[in-house]
Symmetry: none
Subunit: 225 residues, 4 copies
DNA sequence: GATGAATGAGAATTCATTCAT
DNA sequence: AATGAATGAATTCTCATTCAT
């Protein structure tokens, strides 16, 4: 999970060892943070879990906060790269959306510790610089935009949508599904929620008949900003 | 906001003063926590903001955590009572849903500090006993259930819905809308998001045509558990 | 136990009530101190036990330490008056000694809380001014001196004794017997230890034969200062 | 005094330093506690006296109480080992008793701070687990038992003795002699009290004549349990 | 690079004492 | 005299961070 894929598979032994230790610390940190929460965790606990000395951590990270920031930055980048890959595999908007959501759920299901820390920090917006948060938000929005715009061209997605709201609508629902899964102790299969969730995004909870009625009133009040 | 409505509107002067100080501390705490985060805030800062001595806080709260717990417990109760009231004012399911969402957004818009602390804790699930969190989740689910079931009877809401997912779908989207508003610095009007959001819940983002296509495939994969 | 016998049975109602409260606080304090130790006890606990307000305590006592000092001063005086009375009732030295020891044990057995606090403070020599402690030590020594001197005149007590040592010898043994009793939970009868203890003081643990041998060597090394 | 003899005389420099610091803290603590009393002393004062940082203390001791407990446990063990050694050096009961008492007094005279803290805690029975206290009491009793039983076989010590009482009799007297010495400011020679004290234990304060009279009455009331 | 002992600033909490009512 | 809410100084303990080895 935390493989620094882009780090270029260091060729020198020393470098390799170094990277190893970096990864070991990061993974240990996520485990400890997931179990106890960031504030309740101590640098010593992370060091013990990583089987390094306390001081060693400061050779790889500026300070305790930096562990979280580096994790978050790396993970965000990694996840969005995966998202892009997945979305590109499909042709239609609906299929793209489905792949996006499934990928999102699958990635978080694969590593529950990561999921816990990632979700907690996303909603904490303090330690993680708000720049990073904004950037992340934008990346998500860009993906959604692309998909929605494609759907609009295809005729499968409505044209009267406020993109900012659609992004929050999708992102919020997925996040909540993940949070519920975390709180449940990760007992059920998260990935299987992808399809029904997308179906809700597309069709909503209303009946077609009601939708027809609603559309008259609703469309009028639509935000278009 | 933080008026302990049920505390019995103390008639004696002494009692009144006591309640006053309790409220002053609670309000100060929420302000400080909102600005700096719970962990970054010190009891001394709260005391200074409330203009009381550090020790005074411990006359009203068991410890630092207890401030948050009492706030959360009280606020949750208060909010859900408001939700119930609002929902009952309307007759149709769609109207009920609209009132619920609008009320939710309005309440949080009214007090940004409260909103910040409340949202952060809801996604923190450490300090706040998970019992309280579960209970809160259930309350939300119950309200949604009622509305959805009414809609199903009316014929305005689909019958093939997995209630657990619908709850997360709605709750998640609303939460994300609130979070975005908080991060934006509370600059725009939150309440105005209610209508378009509900419209999305009802109709989804798909076009009726696409919905017709999708329903064939989608309905088959619907969770009904 | 804590009746201020010498206070003169106040004749005015107000005065009586006042004295009552003073006694109530003192008794409550001894109970609380005995159960938890002086430092572990709080003024509030004493107030609660005495059923008065915290502030009331400061109308009768200068501060927390003063409660202990007043108790100790009063109790010491009371005890030594009793000791004197008892000693005077007998004619022979041995009988006087027996009455003294029995009285000592009986008084402490009568009120275990008092015993606990008294013994602890006697060996603490910090809070209690060392003046008081010295005075107490002197009183004990004076009583012992009298008895021993009488015995020497009678011919029942040896003449080659260093009084300071005899006082410690007797006082130490009695104290230890009381301490053991306290630690045992006050389960057995303390008073019944008086007679065998005095018998030990008088005869020692050696056999007469050995004593004869020993006396030759022992007497030579006797302190006479 | 506080040398952790059994700690294995660390051979590595690092280890040595560690042990050094442990001892430095312990010695500083005893000094500070002796001067001000345990409760009146602060961890900071101990740290200052030991010339270490406050936090360093917590590397070697679980908490403030633990300093006292470790001191007491170690000292108790050390003292009783010395007692045993001394007792074994002599052949007759009287000589053994003399060596025991002299050793007891000598050890406490050697280190007045230790003596103050040790005596205070022995009579405090709160912080020090009562298990430890009971164990200590038992050790003392065992030594006394051995000596007394030997004396009974030799014919130098009376057979009609209640061992529990004899132990308190001896222990109490010695303790009181030490306490008096402490309160006097440690001015005179404590060791010199050993011989006259033992002489008192053996022969008592009565004259042989009186003893003869007394024995008739006394023996009858002797506890034999 | 790696270590881990040492540091000391900082935080929560307690509680004796005061004082307005 | 009595109250008890309020105070704030004082204390213990934690833990991120440093640095000599």
């Amino acid at each position: 999970m935390l493989t620094a894929g882009s780090a270029g598979e260091a060729t020198i032994a020393t470098k390799k060892k170094t990277t190893d230790k970096y990864r070991r610390i990061l993974e240990a940190a996520i485990k400890v943070f997931a179990e106890q929460g960031f504030h309740q965790s101590t640098v010593s606990q992370v060091a013990r879990e990583a089987e390094v000395a306390d001081g060693t951590i400061y050779l790889y990270f500026k300070n305790k906060d930096d562990i979280l920031v580096q994790f978050y930055r790396f993970k965000t980048k990694q996840i969005f790269e995966r998202f892009r890959e997945e979305v590109e595999k499909a042709d239609t908007a609906v299929e793209k959306l489905q792949r996006l959501i499934r990928c999102h759920l699958t990635e978080f299901q694969k590593d529950r510790n990561m999921a816990i820390v990632y979700q907690a920090e996303t909603h904490q917006n303090r330690r993680i610089g708000s720049d990073l948060l904004r950037e992340m938000s934008k990346m998500y929005r860009d993906i959604i935009s692309e998909v929605v715009e494609l759907g609009q061209e295809e005729g499968s997605i409505r044209r009267d949508l406020y993109m900012g709201l659609v992004k929050r609508f999708v992102n919020g629902a997925v996040d909540e599904v993940i949070n519920s899964w975390i709180h449940s102790g990760g007992k059920y299969d998260l990935e299987s929620m992808a399809e029904p969730l997308v179906e809700l995004f597309i069709n909503g909870i209303g009946t077609p008949a009601a939708a027809a009625d609603e559309s008259a009133a609703g469309a009028a009040s639509q935000m278009t900003a």
